[in-house]
Symmetry: C2
Subunit: 100 residues, 2 copies
């Protein structure tokens, strides 16, 4: 894998995380599996929009789903995503200490 490919891949993962709703989804799935309706109700957006957010996260392998009857039960595949949250918090914390 070339450097260019690696950066492109990483950027795709970051991009998948770069939306408030999708970060919320990750936090919520960290508590346990949820179906699309539950997540939709929690966020308060159109279900079609939620479905697309879920597809975005699924596409890069952060979440997965199990089909149960006519429901899609989504779950977090990569808990390490939470480490990123912590890192972002660090960035914020040091914001005040910057020189320039």
């Amino acid at each position: 894998m070339s450097d260019r490919e690696r950066y492109t891949y990483m950027a795709a993962v970051m991009k998948a995380l770069a939306h408030p709703t999708r970060l919320f989804i990750i936090d919520e799935l960290e508590k346990g599996p949820r179906n699309v309706s539950e997540l939709t109700d929690l966020v308060g957006i159109d279900m079609s929009t939620m479905s697309r957010h879920l597809a975005t996260l699924k596409q890069v392998g952060i979440i997965g789903y199990t089909k149960v009857n006519n429901q899609m039960i989504y779950r977090l595949l990569c808990p390490c995503v939470m480490d990123m949250h912590k890192c972002v918090v660090k960035i914020k914390e040091q914001e005040g200490k910057r020189e320039s």
Copy 2:
């Protein structure tokens, strides 16, 4: 800070990282300070585009600069960003192990 604000802030940081060139910039600045021309030559894009990428990273506090004569010397303010890289690598590693 409300949950909604927190997610919005985090998403903004992720978004700033969500581009191959900007990830490259971070890797490069991790080695040491660089001016705009150096980074531009390394990536091979228009200097104006590079300048905007740098502004994006600066805006969320990941990098900073010092003005020396008519040069802008950029440097990494938040080395912890590298931790995120590691996390993304983890996501990639477990890609093969996924069930669905």
